[in-house]
């Protein structure tokens, strides 16, 4: 479709973060590799310490257990941070939310609208993969669905009802996907199951559907 007169190709909010590299496929792949290395770097030492302590004597079992727990808990905390980008945030604005919900529904296709009403998350296919948009964050599942990138990003008006917050993010994403990912703060990258464990139960079907569609890309 031809761009209308007076249109702009890039997200204007990029001007807020001129120091950031454009979040294209290469950037995301590099980030995924760094997160994998980082996860190993902060987990492996605790595992080695635990094994080493047990190798010395079984009497160190409680300390070794604590080391193993650290190796488990720290990645879990990172995954919790990733899942938190999709959690509900802010006032619910029950009086105005139905109006905002109507507009958001108009922006979505039938299946995506039903999914959003069930889970609170809006699904959008785009060039980088499948996105799930929450009220104050978004998750990107690249083709294959093996990893998930979590982003903190929000509308700047705190008075907006929840569906309007999602619609803000959705329209920004549709305007300029790479610009959207550049403006957003990258919060986590890892296996989808790590994020899914920490998601509120009503949101899990949306992540499952995103993964299913990402596998088909």
């Amino acid at each position: 479709m031809a761009a209308p007169a007076g249109s702009a190709p890039a997200l204007p909010e990029i001007a807020q973060v001129p120091w950031r590299p454009v979040a294209d496929q290469r950037y995301l792949d590099r980030n995924a590799r760094l997160w994998r290395l980082w996860t190993i770097a902060y987990s492996a030492p605790f595992v080695l310490i635990g094994i080493g302590l047990l190798a010395v004597t079984w009497l160190t079992f409680p300390v070794a257990l604590a080391a193993f727990a650290q190796a488990w808990i720290i990645p879990e905390l990172y995954a919790f941070r990733g899942a938190s980008v999709l959690r509900r945030k802010g006032a619910r604005h029950d009086r105005t939310e139905p109006v905002a919900q109507g507009l958001l529904g108009d922006l979505l296709g039938h299946a995506e609208r039903d999914l959003q009403r069930e889970t609170g998350l809006a699904l959008q296919r785009s060039a980088l993969g499948i996105w799930l948009m929450g009220e104050a964050g978004a998750v990107l599942m690249p083709p294959g669905g093996a990893r998930v990138h979590c982003f903190c990003v929000r509308a700047t008006d705190p008075e907006l009802p929840p569906s309007d917050r999602i619609a803000h993010l959705l329209l920004a994403l549709r305007t300029d996907e790479q610009g959207f990912a550049t403006v957003a703060n990258h919060a986590f990258c890892g296996a989808p199951w790590r994020v899914r464990r920490r998601l509120p139960a009503p949101m899990k079907p949306a992540l499952d559907e995103a993964r299913r569609r990402a596998r088909l890309l």
Binding site: M1, L103, D157
Partner: protein
């Protein structure tokens, strides 16, 4: 009938409506659109196919133009 709406605390507000044949209504919509830009809103034209365009001038033939606030990393 084309509409200019703004996402705000009320859910959304209709700021202007116009038709291609009604120049006066379109001129009023253009003035409203520019006022919103001056207040920091961003005009978006959603194409309905997963694509949207930021607009700095009100397209006469658009069915719906949505004004949104800027987003920021959380």
């Amino acid at each position: 009938m084309s509409r200019l709406i703004r996402m705000d605390a009320s859910g959304h507000s209709t700021l202007a409506e116009w038709s291609a044949a009604d120049q006066a209504a379109f001129d009023a919509a253009v003035r409203e659109f520019r006022d919103q830009l001056d207040e920091g809103y961003i005009g978006v034209l959603d194409h309905g196919d997963g694509q949207a365009t930021q607009v700095r001038e009100l397209p006469r033939d658009a069915e719906l133009v949505i004004m949104r606030r800027p987003i920021a990393g959380g």
